[in-house]
């Protein structure tokens, strides 16, 4: 019963919750329920506090579970009811059991309630989430709608704006059109005006052109006049230049004449000198005539020299004789050679025959040929002698062989002799050439002799003075000279003897000739080689042609042809340039560049003017210097010639009173003059004693000054 009551109560309690769950209550309802629950729990806690000791266990359970359940209040009421009526033990036990059971049921129910709570909470959370999501969606939709509306408005505005713009553009277009039309009309008008102007200007320009032409004609006439003038001026210029040239030629002539004058003066001096020397020569000629008297002695000498020359000629003749002898000897040798051979052969034969005769005679004596018996025996002996003869024959043959051998040897000897002969002939030739040389030498010697004679003559001229004084000494000198000449002659002879080096030179020459021969041969061989190579190349080319008949093709415009053309063009241009330059050279550089000529002329003129000015300056400054010197030192110095100076004093009484000085290597010297001779005291004192020219000059000025002043004083007195 209690259980059912409890259950109904519980149901009552749970009813609102279920309602809440089923009808998805809003937040405020839930909060009211919670409030309710809290107030209940507060009450139950207040009520529970006095029954803590009996309800300790349950309270812990209650504390563990939700304490806000309304079931607690009801139970606490029930407990209070049970306590009020004293129960029987059984009933108590039963009550207790019921209580326990009820408690268990309560616990179960509480658990279920809790479970329901949790479900509800979950549900609540779920619904809340859904609600939030829905609200968010709603908000988004609202936002989207608002945005779309804004966009729509914007688009409408743009549309409006575009329409306005379009209208404006159309208006502007219309306006511009009208403007352009106006402008076009204006421009067309302007074009028409310009055309009119052009026509006008054309007409005016034509007038101007005619005027210009007239001006042109006038100018041309003026130009022609000017050109004529120019030509005139040119002619004048040429005249002037020719005059200038004439002037220059005249100048050069003048210079030449001055030069010639100088030359003539120098020649004059030379002639004077020659005149002087001619006088000397006259004197010398006189002496020479004296010397001629001594010619006899010289002639004697000449005779001696001639004898010597004869001796030399004799020697040459001797040499010629010797050569002839050599020739004779060689011919004799040639004739004697075969005779000698014959002699040799004859002697040999005679010897052989004599030996055989002796043999025969001995054999005959041995056999005794007088008797008939002896004949048989002699026959036998003859037979035997035949045998012997055969043997002899063989012997003779051997002898013959020997003879032939001997003959060969003789021939060899003959050859030797022949070679000797050749040598001798060579020697002869050499000697002939030597003779030639000697003859040449002789000529030289004669010339030298002549020269010596001339020398002798000159010596004698020199020596005439001494010789005329003492004849014996002169003879001795001449003897010495003759000795010297003889010595020289001997030396020449030695030289001639030494000049036998001909064979060596000949060998050298022959060797050189051989070398030349070999060289020629080598050159010929080289030429042959070149020829053969060319032939080989030709043959090779021919072979190639024969092997494969081909024709050679090439591109017409190949680089080689192009290069050749270029080169020819270059050559032609270079030759043309050369021609041009040559013609320019022929025409002459002066005509080619008259400006340069003009410049040079002006330069020359300038330099001449400069020189003139320099001269003037120099003369004026020199004059000034001289004046200053004269005023300061009292002496007027004139240069009379080379290193000669004439000085005259300021206080001199006449112009004849002057001193001359010459500049020497070691100072200045005073030259003797008539005036200086009159100044003996001053010269003695200052020049010889003090050795000072300035002192002398100043003393002179002092003296002259005092003299002049004294005279004036005297006159004044």
């Amino acid at each position: 019963m209690a259980k059912e009551g409890d259950m109904s109560l519980l149901n009552d309690v749970l009813e609102p919750f279920r309602r809440v769950i089923n009808t998805d209550p809003p937040k405020d309802k839930l909060s009211a329920s919670t409030k309710l629950i809290f107030s209940d729990s507060n009450q139950s806690i207040k009520e529970d506090t006095p029954n803590l000791h009996s309800l300790g266990k349950r309270k812990s359970v209650l504390n563990m579970s939700a304490p806000e359940t309304p079931e607690k209040r009801m139970r606490s009421d029930s407990t209070s009811n049970t306590v009020s009526a004293p129960p029987s033990p059984w009933e108590a036990k039963r009550l207790k059991i019921d209580i326990i059971a009820a408690k268990a049921q309560i616990a179960k129910l509480e658990a279920r309630v809790n479970h329901q709570h949790t479900i509800r909470k979950e549900m609540q959370i779920l619904f809340e989430e859904e609600k939030t999501s829905l609200t968010e969606q709603h908000k988004r939709d609202q936002r989207a709608v608002s945005e779309m509306e804004e966009r729509l408005q914007l688009i409408r505005r743009r549309e409006q704006e575009l329409k306005d713009e379009y209208n404006e553009a159309i208006k502007q277009h219309m306006e511009k059109k009208t403007k352009w039309d106006k402008e076009k009309n204006e421009l067309q008008k302007q074009i028409a005006e310009l055309k009119d102007k052009l026509l006008e200007s054309n007409v005016s320009s034509k007038d101007q052109i005619s005027e210009m032409k007239k001006d042109m004609d006038e100018l041309l006439q003026a130009l022609e006049g000017a050109q004529q003038e120019v030509e005139m001026l040119k002619k004048e210029v040429t005249r002037q230049t020719s005059r200038a040239e004439q002037c220059t030629t005249l100048r050069t002539q003048v210079e030449k004449q001055t030069f010639e004058l100088q030359q003539v003066t120098s020649k004059l001096k030379e002639i004077e000198y020659e005149r002087d020397s001619y006088k000397d020569w006259q004197q010398q000629a006189k002496t020479a005539q004296k010397r001629l008297t001594n010619m006899a002695e010289l002639e004697k000498e000449v005779i001696r020299l001639r004898a010597a020359e004869r001796n030399l000629r004799d020697a040459v003749c001797n040499k010629l004789l010797l050569e002839e002898q050599v020739n004779l000897l060689t011919t004799k040798v040639e004739t004697l050679q075969p005779m000698q051979q014959q002699l040799h052969e004859a002697t040999v034969k005679i010897a052989a025959l004599e030996s055989s005769l002796e043999e025969w005679t001995t054999a005959a004596k041995n056999h005794g040929i007088e008797t008939s018996r002896a004949l048989s025996s002699a026959l036998d002996s003859a037979l035997s002698s035949q045998l012997n003869a055969v043997a002899g024959c063989s012997e003779a043959q051997s002898i013959l062989a020997q003879h032939t051998e001997e003959l060969a040897t003789l021939k060899f000897e003959r050859d030797k002799i022949n070679t000797k002969l050749n040598d001798l002939q060579i020697v002869r030739k050499n000697q002939e050439s030597l003779i030639h040389r000697l003859q040449k030498r002789l000529l030289l010697v004669t010339r030298e002799r002549d020269s010596y004679r001339q020398q002798l003559d000159s010596y004698e001229r020199e020596l005439t003075v001494s010789l005329s004084g003492e004849g014996a000494g002169g003879a001795a000198l001449l003897a010495a000279r003759v000795e010297q000449l003889e010595k020289a002659l001997q030396a020449y002879r030695d030289l001639l003897a030494h000049h036998d080096h001909e064979p060596a030179a000949k060998a050298l020459e022959s060797a050189r000739a051989e070398i030349n021969k070999y060289r020629d041969e080598a050159e010929a061989a080289k030429r042959d080689v070149i020829k053969l190579r060319a032939q080989r190349d030709q043959l090779q080319a021919h072979l190639e042609k024969l092997a494969a008949p081909t024709k050679v093709l090439h591109l017409a415009d190949n680089p080689a042809a192009a290069a050749h053309k270029q080169m020819q063009v270059d050559l032609e241009s270079a030759q043309e340039e050369i021609k041009k330059l040559k013609t320019a050279l022929r025409e002459g550089g002066s005509r080619a560049c008259p400006e340069e000529m003009q410049q040079l002329k002006t330069q020359l003129e300038n330099s001449r003017i400069k020189l003139q000015r320099m001269k003037e300056e120099f003369t004026s400054s020199a004059q000034e210097y001289r004046d200053v010197c004269y005023m300061l030192l009292g002496y007027k110095i004139d240069r009379t010639g080379h290193k000669n100076y004439r000085i005259s004093n300021m206080y001199a009484e006449s112009s004849d009173e002057y001193l001359t000085f010459t500049l020497c290597d070691d100072g200045i010297e005073m030259v003797h003059t008539e005036y200086s001779a009159s100044l003996g005291e001053l010269v003695e004192l200052h020049l010889h004693h003090h050795r000072s020219i300035p002192l002398f000059l100043s003393a002179l000025t002092m003296e002259l000054f005092t003299r002049t002043t004294m005279q004036q004083e005297v006159q004044e007195c």
């Binding site: 081909t550 680089p559 290069a563």
Partner: protein, 207 residues
């Protein structure tokens, strides 16, 4: 690569192109090495794995392209037996040097030719280029023994063609050249298996 080549298969035209390419580089190299034109007119280019120099002069370029396009045609038709690069003295037209490029025609790969129905070669392109590189290095090395050209020189290329060959426009017949007292040096040869190129330099021996 300009030549038509697929899997070691070189056509006749491709081989002719290789030859002409070699000729272009060789002639340029000779012009540079022998100092016929100033070195600043040449530009370096990488070919055959080495640096070679090609002339930038428009006249030379034009000449070589004209020459080599025609030469390619002739090589293709087996008309050419020899190309000669002649270096001569401009002043007296004396021949100082002659670079002969002898062209020989070979069979190629016969089996592959039958298969392809045209004459083709099967030599590896890398190997051909290796051979060409060797020749180019030799060309560069010739400067050590060739005589110094101390006069104004120019060059010409003579094509030794067969007699039945037509003379095209811009071409003319020339005289065959011969160097007096010549010295020949044979350089390495290379082959594309269709053509064989033999390079010979002959120069005037100075005594």
């Amino acid at each position: 690569m300009s030549q038509q080549q697929t899997k070691n298969c070189i056509t006749l035209r491709g081989s002719a192109q290789i030859l002409c390419e070699y000729l272009n580089y060789a002639i340029n190299s000779v012009l540079f090495q022998r100092g016929l034109y100033p070195p600043e007119t040449f530009k370096a280019a990488q070919q055959y794995g080495i640096t070679l120099l090609l002339s930038e002069d428009p006249q030379i370029k034009n000449f070589l392209t004209n020459l080599l396009t025609q030469s390619e045609e002739w090589i293709l038709n087996k008309k050419v037996s020899k190309l000669s690069l002649v270096i001569l003295n401009v002043a007296n037209k004396e021949i100082l040097e002659c670079w002969d490029f002898n062209v020989q025609y070979e069979e190629g790969d016969v089996a592959l030719s039958k298969e392809k129905n045209e004459t083709v070669g099967s030599k590896d392109l890398k190997k051909i280029q290796q051979e060409i590189r060797d020749v180019m290095l030799q060309v560069a090395a010739t400067i050590s023994y060739l005589p110094f050209l101390d006069c104004r020189c120019s060059f010409d290329v003579l094509v030794h063609a067969k007699t039945d060959c037509d003379i095209p426009e811009k071409w003319a017949e020339a005289e065959p050249v011969a160097i007096v007292n010549a010295q020949n040096v044979q350089l390495k040869t290379f082959s594309t298996s269709l053509h064989k190129m033999e390079t010979v330099v002959s120069y005037k021996l100075v005594d």
